[in-house]
């Protein structure tokens, strides 16, 4: 188990994906925190203009959508806004800002960009490639980029957009750039997809399909990370203890409702184990993280998850 997580942190670029609602953003933040504790200069990337991670670290306003913002020692955040990345790309390509403005202010161009939103995924990957290749002196600018990627379906579209461009465009700078991005995406030493799953049927099945689809696209995935695994304090022993009582002491719910709830919880735990087993058999599980109550939308919760990731990544 530990080698999987340690191996993951040796990559340069991690895409955290999975079915909607599995906790991708939380896991992105927790892995980032763990990596920064281990001394890796880490950049967390969210792919939209409404990032959530800075809020988790107590920042109410987003300071910048162009430059990475420091969250902790060794830990930075970037909201990768496609419109901004497109302008930066054009500025690099065309060199003259007034020409870039001319292009981006053209109403036809604006409408084309609206009508064919596929460019957003391409520019997102392009920006990630740019971040990955940047260096300071002899060392890379970032040791590790962790991307809070879109959910499974859109994620697959995102990952394979260089392939689509290469099939469509036969020459020119766009083709060269798409080829560079594709070689980063296909390099198992640098890039890995991390599928996050919940211990339940739909997300378990989607995870297995996702990993199969990634293989078909020559993309490296590590074993699934199981999130929100019930640390059921509910156990058969508690149920047995309840059965010994004639009535419940004052201050506690009545025996029947406690019994019913405990049965529900045990039932859920059983189903969860079955679906965890399914994922483990099919594609493997690199790490199980507990469900935190209430939801881990505070730094304490994320610190707790990060500590577990760090333990799993450390040599035994």
């Amino acid at each position: 188990m530990s080698s999987d997580v340690a191996g993951l942190l040796h990559k340069r670029l991690i895409f955290v994906t999975g079915k909607g609602g599995v906790g991708k953003t939380t896991i992105t933040a927790a892995i980032g925190l763990a990596a920064s504790h281990l001394g890796l200069h880490t950049l967390l990337v969210e792919l939209g203009d409404r990032p959530e991670i800075p809020h988790l670290f107590g920042r109410s306003e987003i300071e910048s959508d162009e430059a990475p913002v420091g969250l902790r020692e060794n830990l930075f955040h970037l909201a990768l806004v496609p419109e901004v990345a497109l302008r930066e790309y054009l500025e690099i390509q065309l060199r003259v800002r007034s020409i870039v403005r001319l292009v981006l202010r053209n109403s036809g161009v604006r409408r084309l960009l609206e009508a064919a939103p596929g460019w957003r995924d391409l520019i997102r990957l392009g920006k990630l490639w740019h971040l990955e290749t940047r260096s300071e002196g002899d060392a890379p600018r970032w040791d590790l980029l962790i991307v809070d990627a879109p959910a499974t379906g859109h994620g697959l579209t995102l990952f394979s957009i260089p392939d689509a461009v290469l099939e469509t465009v036969r020459s020119g700078p766009l083709r060269r750039h798409a080829a560079a991005v594709q070689s980063l995406m296909h390099d198992p030493a640098r890039t890995s997809v991390l599928p996050v799953t919940l211990p339940e049927e739909l997300s378990a099945r989607e995870t297995v399909q996702l990993i199969e689809s990634l293989e078909a696209r020559q993309l490296k995935s590590c074993a699934a990370l199981a999130n929100a695994v019930h640390r059921a304090p509910a156990s058969a022993e508690l149920l047995a203890a309840l059965d010994q009582l004639d009535s419940s002491p004052p201050g506690l719910p009545d025996l029947d409702s406690m019994r019913a709830r405990l049965h529900d919880d045990l039932d859920r735990a059983k189903h969860e184990n079955e679906w965890l087993g399914f994922v483990r058999d099919q594609v493997g599980i690199c790490l199980e993280l507990p469900r935190l109550e209430p939801a881990p939308k505070s730094l304490d919760g994320i610190e707790e998850l990060a500590a577990r990731i760090q333990t799993a990544a450390s040599p035994r």
């Binding site: 609602g21 020409i99 409408r111 084309l112 064919a116 036969r170 156990s235 409702s257």
Partner: protein, 381 residues
């Protein structure tokens, strides 16, 4: 409490993984008490839903699920295959083989259909229009595709039209045409300059491919836009309704305010908020005190083998911790529910609290267990 099932179309929206598909099916079953012919349209190909409805699999055309019931209602279900619908639309609207080839042989159609705004959304809208116009159903419950923004399916088709009217598009397709009127000439010069700049980066070929694809879609778009507009009107009127499914947690509550302004911009009122998978808690119970723990320990100890006080303490603490954890969860959920209700400016009657039911929903009976949480009491029977 509950959803008005008086509509002709009920659109169920929400982000991925919140249980839209299951609740859509349960709403279909619930509607049988009021309506005669009900159709549930889902985008999600989950086999589990087919199983729950007692079907081998969901198909691209409506299949009868059950009925007529004693009340006379019958339920149908179908799965909307958007890619296939889009292909059918291309076939139907583009009778001219050349423009059909223009689309089908375009590498973008093969690779990037999804990347062009609205192709799937158009398909969903068109299919819904068709099903409604057929008059075969009194109520259609539509389970929408999961989207980060739950309303994308409404406005994605509109974005395509903007480009089709633009100078850039015309210039890309007919670079050699000289436009006569002087006002146009100035515009064209600007556009030509822009095209030559973009060309340096993408190559002209790529621009023409994209443009060609969008233009080949123009006929299709013209055929569909009237339907899309009519459907839009219908959904805004009393005949259409929207239900939002969420899981009550703080993140969802934060997103709700944004969603609310989006609804306003579309001119849509939300009929109901369905809070799904709520924890069944212990109403009226307070977090456990030291005294309760000691009492419980005292009550458990006599039942255990003698001289095992540690076991009694462990069991008592275990039970009390479990009760407290359940209370914390229900409190957090309730807090998020209230935030959602106020952000969406709904009345308490418009909010349905649907509990997380034990076991999996793998039969019609299990789905039916959700009905009392979805429909108004005075609407039933």
């Amino acid at each position: 409490m509950g959803i008005s099932l008086e509509r002709e179309i009920l659109v169920v929206v929400g982000t991925g993984g919140v249980g839209k598909t299951t609740l859509s099916a349960a709403l279909g079953l619930a509607a049988l008490e009021r309506k005669e012919r009900v159709l549930v349209v889902t985008i999600d190909p989950a086999q589990r839903l087919a199983d729950a409805l007692g079907l081998d699999s969901l198909t691209h055309t409506p299949q009868r699920v059950c009925g007529p019931t004693p009340g006379g209602g019958a339920l149908w279900a179908m799965m909307l295959d958007t890619k296939r619908t889009f292909d059918e639309l291309v076939e139907r609207y583009l009778r001219d083989p050349e423009s059909r080839r223009g689309i089908v042989e375009n590498p973008i159609f093969q690779n990037l259909t999804d990347a062009v705004s609205g192709s799937r959304e158009y398909s969903a809208m068109e299919k819904l229009f068709e099903l409604h116009a057929s008059g075969d159903y009194d109520l259609i419950v539509l389970d929408t595709p999961p989207a980060t923004h739950a309303l994308d399916f409404l406005d994605a088709p509109r974005r395509l039209s903007g480009f089709l009217d633009s100078n850039l598009q015309k210039a890309l397709l007919k670079p050699a045409v000289v436009v006569g009127r002087s006002g146009f000439r100035a515009l064209r010069r600007g556009t030509d300059a822009v095209i030559s700049i973009i060309r340096r980066i993408t190559g002209l070929e790529f621009l023409q491919l994209i443009s060609g694809f969008l233009v080949a879609l123009e006929d299709l778009w013209k055929g569909l836009s009237q339907h899309a507009d009519a459907l839009h009107e219908l959904l805004r009127s009393e005949r259409g309704g929207f239900a939002l499914v969420v899981q009550p947690n703080p993140v969802q509550a934060k997103r709700a305010a944004e969603f609310s302004s989006r609804l306003d911009a579309e001119g849509i009122r939300l009929d109901a908020l369905l809070l799904n998978r709520m924890t069944a808690g212990f109403p009226g119970v307070k977090p456990t005190s030291e005294k309760t723990r000691e009492d419980l320990c005292g009550a458990i100890a006599p039942q255990l083998p003698p001289h095992s006080p540690e076991t009694a303490t462990a069991l008592s603490d275990g039970l009390c911790d479990w009760v407290d954890a359940t209370l914390r969860r229900t409190e957090a959920e309730e807090q998020a529910s209230l935030e959602l209700q106020s952000a969406l400016r709904l009345t308490p009657e418009q909010v349905c609290r649907v509990p997380r039911l034990s076991g999996e929903l793998h039969s019609r009976e299990a789905l039916s267990a959700l009905i009392p949480y979805l429909v108004k009491r005075n609407d039933r029977g």
